[in-house]
Structures are given as C-alpha cells and as structure tokens.
C-alpha cells in the first residue's frame, strides 16, 4: 500500500512546498515594498546597485544580444530564402529581439550574474549573523538590503533590455549586410515599415516585471539561507533556478496578454 501511496505523498508535499514558497515570496515582497515609505531611501545604496546591475552587466548583456541577433539573422535567412522574402529578415530580428529575446535574455543573464551574487551575499550575511547585527542596530534588513536591489533591478532591467535589443538588431544587420551580402538599406527600411512602438513598450513592460521577479526571489533566497557554506551554495542555486523559471513563465503570461 505504501508503495502506491508514496509517489502521491511526494507529489502532494512538492505542491504544498511550492505553494508555501510562492506565498512566502509574495509576503516577502510585500514587506520589502511596505518598508519603503517607512524610511528615507538611501540613494547611495540604490545607485551602487544600479551600477552593479546595469553598467557592470553591459558587456555580458551586450555580447549576448549581439550574438543572438547574428544567429537570428542567419537562421531567418535560411528560411526566408526558400520563400523569397529575405527583405523580412530585419523586421523578424527586430520583433524577436524587442518583444522576446531582448527582455528574456537580459533577465536570464542578469539573474545568472547579479541574482546569484545577491543571494550569496545576503546568504553569507545571514549565516555570519550580519543580518542579526543589522536588526540589533534597529536597521530593517529588508529595507537596507532588499529594497535597493529590487528597485535597482526594476529601473535597470528595461534599460539593459533595450540596449540588448538594439545591439541584437545591429548584430543581425552585420550578418545581413556583411556576411550574407544583402542590401543594408532594405534591412533598416523594413524595420521602420513593420515595427511599431507597441512592440518596444511591451518588451519594456515585461522587463520591469522580470527585474522585480529576479531581485525579489534572489534576495528572498538569501534571507532564507541556513547551513553554512554548503547552504549558501544550495540557496544561491535555488535563487537562480527559481528566478529563471519564474521569468520564463511570466514571459509566456505577458506575451499572451500583451501581444
């Protein structure tokens, strides 16, 4: 009988744990956001985080965008050549970058680079009693550690996503005009013809939510950390995996609503 029930018990436990985790994250985000009006914003801290999430991530986000744009252009060429619509490569690359790949890849790269750093930094502070020290000094750790990171991610993700998209479009242009030897004026002309601002705004709106998701989950997992060095590794991995899954899930939901 146990052999029959055990798998169901495991599934039930997994569902309960997932619901519990998601509930905890929502409560945590509420607490972090509610702490904003209680204190004055520490702009130095906020700007430090904006630089870390934004400027310091420029190369990795830029390179990701550039190569993605190049690959998109090349793949679109193979398909478009068959039906004789190679002039549509520009709009295809631009639509894919602004609506989907720019925001999603930026969010995933920043999750890997900054989300992991947020979780491990706060996790280390947790296991070495530095979070307790903040509380004892009457400093709200959610406000001091989480709020600047969440706000910085919300502000910087759309900026990085638009840069990623722009660099991706340039990458596509390089392949289109120089490697494939097609007419570069057509590439740009067709982008203007087929792309409207709504495509860009939709991507930007997604990025705002992706920023909130990755910073909230990463800092939450940092605060949850227990169990020394091994625990820091485990919770950092959880932060990256959960953030990535939630970003991809949110991307689908937003795409189905926005476009």
């Amino acid at each position: 009988m146990d052999a029959i029930l055990n798998p169901f018990e495991s599934i039930g436990k997994f569902i309960l744990k997932t619901i519990n985790d998601l509930g905890s994250i929502v409560i945590y985000m509420g607490e972090a956001l509610l702490s904003i009006p209680r204190y004055r914003i520490n702009f130095n801290n906020l700007i430090e985080q904006m630089i870390f999430i934004g400027m310091d991530s420029f190369y990795v986000v830029g390179l990701t965008g550039f190569f993605t744009g190049m690959v998109l252009s090349l793949q679109a060429y193979y398909a478009a050549k068959v039906v004789g619509v190679t002039y549509m490569i520009g709009p295809t690359v631009t639509l894919a970058m602004t609506r989907e790949l720019g925001p999603v890849l930026t969010a995933l790269m920043i999750t890997a680079r900054c989300g992991s750093s947020m979780a491990s930094e706060i996790g280390t502070m947790k296991v070495t009693e530095q979070i307790d020290a903040l509380e004892v000094m009457a400093v709200d750790p959610y406000y001091y550690l989480a709020v600047p990171r969440i706000l910085a991610a919300i502000i910087m993700l759309p900026i990085m996503a638009i840069l990623c998209s722009l660099i991706g479009i340039i990458g596509g242009y390089v392949v289109y005009a120089y490697f494939l030897g097609l007419n570069h004026v057509t590439y740009i002309e067709k982008i203007y013809q087929y792309i409207n601002l709504g495509d860009i705004y939709g991507g930007l709106l997604k990025s705002v939510f992706f920023g909130a998701i990755l910073a909230t989950i990463s800092t939450f997992k940092g605060f949850e950390t227990t169990g020394g060095a091994k625990g820091i590794g485990k919770f950092t991995t959880q932060a990256v995996v959960l953030s990535s899954i939630c970003i991809l899930l949110a991307d689908y939901l937003f795409t189905s609503i926005l476009f």
């Binding site: 209680r38 280390t124 502070m125 070495t128 009693e129 530095q130 307790d132 020290a133 509380e135 004892v136 000094m137 009457a138 400093v139 709200d140």
Partner: protein
C-alpha cells in the same frame, strides 16, 4: 530594567528555556554562565527580540517586547548594543565604516562629527591606526574590539555580549574582559554577558547567574558563587566531568 518572566522556548520538541525567570539589575554587569548548547544565546536573543518566546514575556522598562510592532521594536532596540560571538562585522565595510554604520543610519551628523566619534571610540578600544583595514585583515581579538566599539558608538543603555572571549587566547581574553570593565566604568550601561569563561565572569560580573536545564538556578555575586553549596555550580565552576550535571 530588564525582566524575563516565565520564558519558555522549544526547538524541534526540545525545551531550551523552561519557565525562566530573571531580573537584571540596572547599570550592573550580569554574567550568565551555563553549558554549551544550554540556551544562553537563545535567552540573549529573546532579550533583543531576535527570537520570539513560545510563552512568557520579556519586559524592557516595563514594555513587553513581543507586543511591539516593527517600528516600535526598532525604537526599543536603539537602547541596545550587542557584541556577537564572532563580531558579526560587515565584511564589505572597513573598520571605520563598521563603527560609523549606526551613526550614519540613525543620526544626521556632519562627516567631521562622525569621524571624531569613530576615532574617539576606536582610541578607547585601542584600535588607533586600524581604521582603514577590512575585517578580514585583522585578528579575532581586534574584531571583537571593533564589535565593542560599534555597539558602544550610540552610547546604549544596555549592552549584550555573546561569549566575548570565546576563541581568544587567555591574554587576549583578559584584554577583552578589561575592556568590558573599563567601558562599563565609562558608559555605565546595563551589561549582560553570556560566557563559559569563569575567570572572566569573576572579573567582569557584578552578578553571576547560572542557566541549567532551561532555568536560572542561582544568582549571586562572584563571592557568593565561589562559596556556593550548590553541587551543580561547584561542578561547573571546577570544570569537572564528575557531578550532578548530566553530560
């Protein structure tokens, strides 16, 4: 005045504090001694509201810590300074910035006043010339002294020390014990020290209390403790494995 009233706390079914009652004298240093894992640090964390009790009350000047909202709790916490076992210094900040941290968070002081206060307290704890070092660049004893300086910078009414001499050699332990006494003479705080260092307890404590099986079993002056007839205290003080304490 700090009063613990019928305080109980269990972790995973194991009772760590069991209807504990204790009253700490104002502007005196009380040393809590007891076995490792006996609940001393848990008791200390209850006093500052880092842990909530299963039952019982922690009263600070008559205010129950467990009934307070976050903002009220933070106001009460401004009365406290706490030195953690490993210092709990912010490892991304220099010694200077660690000590200046509470000033920057709570007082709107000009930079020159902050510098004056930080240099002054670092001088008190004997750390002149180490301001720009990072916590990873200084020794364990120096880290504890930075932690003492950081805890004292806002001139708190109550100081909590979680095993301030653990992990230090006997000479450095004596340095820290002397520092606690001299800082108490200067700042006149109510001090609570968690320790197993009997020699240090005799030196720093106006009163000593022993925590055993989740309860305070005896409170007295160092002299009263030395002359105690309680076999549990005698065994603990003598450091013998033979006696009524169950290992």
């Amino acid at each position: 005045m700090i009063t613990l009233y019928q305080l109980s706390k269990s972790f995973n079914g194991k009772k760590v504090l069991d209807n504990l009652n204790m009253r700490f004298k104002e502007r005196r240093i009380t040393v809590i001694i007891g076995r490792s894992g006996g609940g001393k640090s848990v008791m200390l964390k209850h006093i500052i509201g880092l842990i909530k009790p299963d039952s019982g009350r922690v009263l600070i000047d008559g205010i129950d810590m467990n009934t307070l909202k976050k903002k009220e709790l933070n106001e009460i916490r401004k009365k406290f300074g706490m030195v953690f076992q490993d210092g709990a210094l912010f490892d991304s900040l220099s010694v200077f910035e660690n000590v200046a941290f509470p000033l920057r968070q709570h007082l709107n002081l000009p930079e020159e006043d902050i510098r004056y206060k930080v240099y002054s307290i670092l001088n008190d704890v004997g750390l002149n010339g180490h301001e720009s070092k990072m916590p990873s660049e200084i020794s364990g004893g120096m880290r504890k002294r930075v932690a003492v300086a950081r805890a004292l910078i806002l001139n708190p009414e109550i100081m909590l020390f979680d095993e301030p001499t653990t992990g230090l050699d006997p000479i450095m332990s004596d340095v820290i014990n002397n520092l606690v006494v001299s800082m108490h003479d200067k700042f006149k705080f109510t001090g609570i020290i968690i320790s197993h260092d009997i020699k240090g307890a005799y030196k720093t404590g106006d009163e000593i209390a022993m925590l055993y099986n989740g309860k305070i079993i005896e409170v007295g002056t160092p002299e009263e403790f030395k002359d105690s007839k309680n076999p549990i205290i005698n065994q603990f003080v003598s450091g013998s494995m033979n006696g009524p304490i169950i290992l």
